[in-house]
């Protein structure tokens, strides 16, 4: 069954149609990748999924529920978590607090939230620490987010999404700006998450995608131009053209 489904989703910024009639189905439990050259509209699509932006037309359905235009803080409560392409953490807070905040948001109950001491929520702290462990940052829990390296901030970015115990995990170029070594580690990390979460992964490096994806959708100038298994995509002539036609070569 499709956990996430979009029907003809379009987003226009004035004259620019960043996302153009995209219809997509993400199967529960799968890792579905979206690839495409710079400016193809991948991040915009995520912004539409999570309510940062409202589509110009079309529908977005999550788990049988229409979430088109639902504000982002509500979408989060439904169980959609995302990581950002450009690192988007809480710089002056400790790593633990960064993930703690995300874990607390998904608690369901707000009882005592302005009065009970934060350290009296052991289950939230436990989930936060587990998220840091998942990305290998457990030893730095008390450091501030602005003090760690760029690579580690990318890991934290992922941990914040994981701490929400999401039903759908949206990862926007988790390896952006990483060195080859760090990229390898990040790929291994994402591979480790596969099966535990339903994942939509944006990436524009083909080689990363091919090894981990169950399905791949290709975006070009706002539209989906192909969809299939990694092997099918690799053979597809349109995709070859989109990637090698001078738009971007990684």
């Amino acid at each position: 069954m499709a956990l996430l489904r979009t029907e003809n989703v379009t987003k226009a910024f004035g004259a620019l149609t960043a996302v153009n009639g995209v219809s997509l189905e993400v199967e529960a439990g799968s890792l579905h990748s979206i690839i495409g050259p710079n400016g193809a509209g991948k991040t915009t699509l995520f912004n539409l999924f999570t309510g940062q932006l409202t589509p110009t037309s079309g529908r977005i359905v999550f788990d049988g529920r229409d979430i088109t235009g639902t504000p982002s803080h509500r979408v989060a409560h439904l169980g959609i978590a995302r990581s950002f392409q450009r690192t988007n953490v809480f710089p002056a807070l400790s790593l633990l607090d960064n993930v703690w905040i995300a874990a607390f948001a998904r608690r369901g109950s707000w009882r005592g939230f302005a009065w009970r001491r934060a350290d009296r929520y052991p289950e939230v702290t436990e989930r936060a620490l587990a998220a840091l462990r998942d990305v290998g940052l457990q030893d730095r829990a008390n450091q501030l987010a602005r003090e760690i390296s760029h690579g580690e901030q990318r890991q934290l970015e992922l941990a914040i999404a994981l701490a929400a115990a999401p039903r759908l995990l949206l990862l926007d170029e988790p390896a952006a700006g990483l060195s080859p070594d760090e990229t390898q580690r990040m790929v291994a990390l994402v591979r480790g998450l596969k099966g535990r979460y339903t994942i939509v992964l944006i990436e524009h490096k083909m080689d990363i995608i091919m090894g981990v994806s169950d399905r791949v959708s290709v975006m070009h100038f706002g539209s989906l131009i192909a969809e299939g298994t990694p092997a099918e995509i690799q053979r597809n002539a349109d995709v070859q053209r989109a990637y090698l036609g001078g738009v971007v070569v990684e």
Binding site: R82, F84, A92, D97, A102, G112, A118, I160
Partner: protein, 313 residues
């Protein structure tokens, strides 16, 4: 009990021995005012330039009821807290959608609006002359007209306020507000309604301002028009920045410095705001975290030196 609380208790006990009781009371009242502002300024990252709106409104309403109906002290305080919270909800509702300079200007503009209402509505507020004749009632046989009795009352309420604020900033809400300050987009993305939580910070801050406003009215027996004016709003921002907006205790230190300067130095030197300006410039250039940060840096410097001499020998 932490060192900070010991220092606060010591200050509460020693202060009336060092300065006039009225000044001592004013310091704690101003500190309560600062605690409320700092939830917005330090924790949520919202520079509200209109805190006297809540301070003054509470002072006028409770002052009026005390003066004309002789209501109970606790009722006056409760009503003041309520008026502070409600007026802050009103102002906050209009402001939290904006950001940056627009936000600051709007808090300021709304403050001006309340000021002109108070200025014009002379039958109730007394306009420029203020609202005099506010008594301090007798409660449970204690006569609060005694300066020391009133000081103790104020100091106790300050301690309660500090404890309440400490609970708030150490609760999940405290973390969430800091997250909103650090990165509102991400805070929204993980599930927090930024506007509503900022509004909540406003309401809590307004409640503290309201409490301070009533205590101030009872201290001086009058609500002067300045109590709702922009200079007052600026003063509490000033004091909090000097004390250190990055810490729960910053506004308390700031209140000490500010009231002490304004009450003591102003007597001997009319240009005292100049001194305040100098203090402010020093803070902005060298110690963005105010006195509290300066103090922490001094200690770590001493610690390092001690370490160095021990290593050398």
């Amino acid at each position: 009990m932490s060192r900070a609380w010991l220092a606060v208790f010591a200050a509460v006990i020693l202060l009336p021995l060092a300065v006039r009781h009225a000044i001592a009371s004013e310091i704690w009242i101003f500190a309560i005012f600062g605690l409320g502002l700092n939830l917005l300024l330090g924790y949520t990252g919202l520079l509200s330039f209109g805190q006297s709106t809540f301070f003054g409104s509470a002072g006028y309403v409770s002052g009026y009821l005390l003066k004309h109906y002789g209501i109970n002290v606790f009722a006056a305080l409760g009503i003041g807290v309520l008026v502070g919270a409600v007026s802050a909800a009103l102002v906050g509702y209009l402001c939290v959608q904006r950001s940056g300079l627009y936000f600051i200007m709007l808090t300021f503009a709304l403050n001006q609006m309340f000021y002109f209402i108070a200025y014009q509505w002379t039958t109730v507020t007394g306009g420029e002359d203020g609202m005099p004749g506010i008594g301090r009632p007798v409660l449970l046989g204690v006569d609060f007209r005694q300066p020391l009795a009133y000081y103790i009352f104020v100091a106790l309420l300050f301690l309660v306020s500090l404890w309440v604020m400490k609970r708030i900033v150490e609760s999940p809400l405290g973390k969430i507000l800091q997250a909103i300050r650090e990165n509102e987009v991400r805070a929204q993305a993980v599930g927090y309604d930024g506007a509503r939580l900022k509004l909540l910070a406003f309401v809590i801050g307004g409640a503290f301002s309201g409490l301070a406003g009533v205590l101030y009215a009872m201290l001086f027996g009058i609500v002067p028009l300045e109590a709702i004016g922009f200079v007052f709003s600026g003063n509490v921002v000033f004091a909090t920045l000097i004390g250190g907006s990055g810490s729960l205790y910053g506004p308390i230190v700031g209140s000490f410095v500010f009231i002490w300067l304004s009450e003591s130095v102003s007597v001997v030197w009319a240009r005292w705001p100049l001194l305040l300006g100098v203090a402010f410039v020093i803070v902005v250039i060298f110690f963005r975290g105010g006195c509290v940060e300066a103090w922490a840096r001094f200690w770590s410097w001493r610690e390092r030196r001690r370490m160095a001499t021990r290593l050398a020998s």
